[in-house]
């Protein structure tokens, strides 16, 4: 069984029931009995570890009796009638302050790059703080505050685009993101450009090489903002982590893991991008009571001698998952958008074929 060097061996995780060792000569019964394969298919239809990663977990309704129901109604009135307008006001205020400082600085200080960068960085941190305030975000930061040092990248698990905002309010990271349409894309191309963000497009095939080149260039640049990467490549529901892409781990720099865990009692912060747009997601957050989360800045890791980038990525994923208390799953996040490689099916076919031929020889 040759290993696909792009990903760890999935067979280590999947049940290998269909590759049980049968004994004796090949009979008609053995060829007709497709029950192991059928059982795997049935099991996949009933429940599978991949779909579980992207299941939204709305908070359990607690308004099930006559005493709590009026309280809940009151809560709805407070949330939609009082909190929401106040939050919209705060956010609008934040944007006004931000734009009135950012636009002049951007145009007038064109010559003084260093000063311009410092001010823009502070302004981006400011607008992120306004965003977090608009959801009544209560964020507990644990661990040493990240600083800009050469040859280091930060990696974190990904639940929603608000991960970026929460981390950005503490330190102005440069981030690598999927280019989004709409107003998000506009913000991406104007404001985030100033902190030094890198764009990619999942659907472009050649994009990977371009992206890794850009990553390398950024990390090697002396006064670029520290780079933040979400190696899962997609939003996962904060109960599981999917496989990390090895791109962040083969740059030859120190990797600083960050673990983020949201408290589900208050709101489910998972952005189910297939179900609703980012605007709906933000509205949902702004009409909940609070967004409570923990952020852990963990110990920087280096690639051990003799370790491949894949193993390094899995090791860091283990560290992050352990700290955040979430489970690891052996699937590639991009399977959300594409089909699994036929090689996985071929592995099963090859195993069955070999066992058939081997038993044929047994006379």
């Amino acid at each position: 069984m040759e290993l696909d060097l792009d990903r760890p061996n999935i067979e280590d995780y999947l049940p290998t029931d269909s590759i049980h060792e049968p004994l004796g000569k090949l009979r008609l019964r053995d060829l007709l009995d497709i029950s192991p394969t059928l059982r795997e298919a049935g099991g996949a239809i009933v429940d599978d570890s991949f779909t579980r990663c992207f299941k939204s977990n709305p908070p359990e309704p607690w308004n099930w009796n006559v005493y709590l129901f009026p309280l809940w109604c009151l809560g709805v009135v407070v949330r939609y009638g009082i909190l929401f307008p106040v939050r919209v006001l705060i956010l609008t205020l934040g944007w006004i302050i931000f734009l009135s400082c950012y636009i002049p600085v951007h145009w007038l200080l064109k010559g003084h790059d260093k000063l311009k960068k410092r001010i823009e960085r502070a302004l981006v941190e400011l607008i992120c703080s306004f965003f977090v305030a608009s959801w009544t975000g209560v964020v507990n930061y644990h661990g040493p505050r990240p600083c800009a040092r050469p040859k280091q990248v930060f990696v974190a698990n990904h639940t929603s685009m608000i991960d970026f905002i929460i981390l950005e309010q503490m330190t102005a990271f440069a981030v690598i993101m999927q280019k989004h349409p709409g107003w998000v894309g506009l913000i991406q191309s104007t404001i985030l450009e100033s902190v030094g963000c890198i764009w990619f497009n999942r659907s472009e095939a050649k994009d990977r090489e371009i992206v890794s080149r850009k990553l390398r260039e950024h990390v090697e640049g002396a006064d670029n903002n520290p780079l933040l990467i979400f190696p899962e490549g997609t939003c996962v529901n904060n109960n599981y982590t999917v496989m990390f892409k090895k791109g962040a781990f083969e740059l030859g720099s120190t990797v600083c893991p960050i673990a983020i865990k949201y408290n589900k009692i208050f709101v489910d912060a998972f952005w189910n991008s297939k179900k609703h747009s980012f605007t709906t997601h933000l509205l949902q957050l702004m009409t909940s009571w609070a967004v409570v989360c923990d952020v852990w800045y963990l110990e920087p890791q280096n690639m051990k001698p003799g370790e491949t980038p894949i193993e390094f990525a899995e090791r860091v994923r283990g560290i992050i998952s352990a700290r955040a208390g979430i489970k690891m799953v052996p699937w590639d996040g991009f399977l959300k958008y594409s089909r699994p490689s036929p090689k996985l099916k071929e592995v099963k076919q090859q195993a069955f074929a070999e066992s058939v031929l081997r038993r044929l020889e047994d006379k």
Partner: protein, 223 residues
């Protein structure tokens, strides 16, 4: 309820009409027309009424249970309903090809195409009946019938040599040549007392597979 496909429509509309292949997706009405306001309002109504499983009434659960001969328990039916709704992303009342193949564990299964042909376009009641063969309460007869149906792709009650060859090809892929496959199959058939051009019927399958236990059980997770 505001705009949601009710359990009644999911069960009734699709079973009363005959499923006609090619005449895709009758009952466009099942696709709920939603506006943002009804969405927010109905979401809050769900919060009032409790979790989504209460959308399936006791009557519906019993109807489904009867349809699959009591092989699946009521709690399992509720679980399967949640799973069905989770897979049926566009709420069309059935699970399409894309939605099935988006489950990677299913897509990498060598028999996924065959199974997909059997499960395509089924509504929830038929979906549960399809999965009832995997229940621990299913009889051996039921399981053998199920395997027979997987082989008998044209549904004429007979499994020919080419049907057997098709399944073997799905299971072994490019790792055995076509000639070798035919040889293996012919040899094994002859040893069992069948000629190459004989067709197998259900009773043959029962005879061949009947006496040794078939392990085909899948546990349905119940919250």
């Amino acid at each position: 309820m505001l705009g949601f496909p009710t359990n009644k429509t999911l069960l009734r509309d699709c079973t009363d009409g005959k499923k006609v292949k090619g005449l895709r997706r009758r009952n466009k009405g099942l696709k709920a027309k939603r506006t943002v306001s009804t969405l927010i309002l109905s979401k809050n109504l769900i919060e009032i009424m409790g979790n989504t499983s209460s959308m399936l009434t006791q009557y519906d659960i019993e109807e489904v249970q009867e349809h699959c001969n009591n092989t699946i328990s009521q709690q399992e039916i509720v679980s399967l309903y949640q799973r069905f709704c989770q897979l049926d992303r566009n709420s069309g009342g059935f699970i399409s090809a894309d939605e099935f193949l988006s489950v990677p564990e299913f897509a990498v299964n060598p028999l996924s195409q065959r199974l997909f042909r059997m499960i395509d376009g089924l509504n929830f009641k038929e979906f549960v009946a399809f999965l009832s063969a995997f229940s621990s309460r299913a009889t051996l007869q039921h399981k053998v019938e199920y395997i027979f149906k997987v082989y008998d792709s044209d549904g004429n009650g007979k499994v020919s040599f080419s049907d057997l060859l098709d399944v073997l090809r799905d299971l072994t892929g490019q790792f055995i040549s076509e000639q070798q496959r035919e040889l293996v199959l012919t040899q094994v058939l002859e040893e069992a007392g069948y000629k190459k051009d004989s067709t197998l019927v259900l009773s043959d399958f029962m005879k061949i597979l009947g006496n040794s236990g078939l392990k085909m059980e899948v546990e349905i997770p119940v919250d």
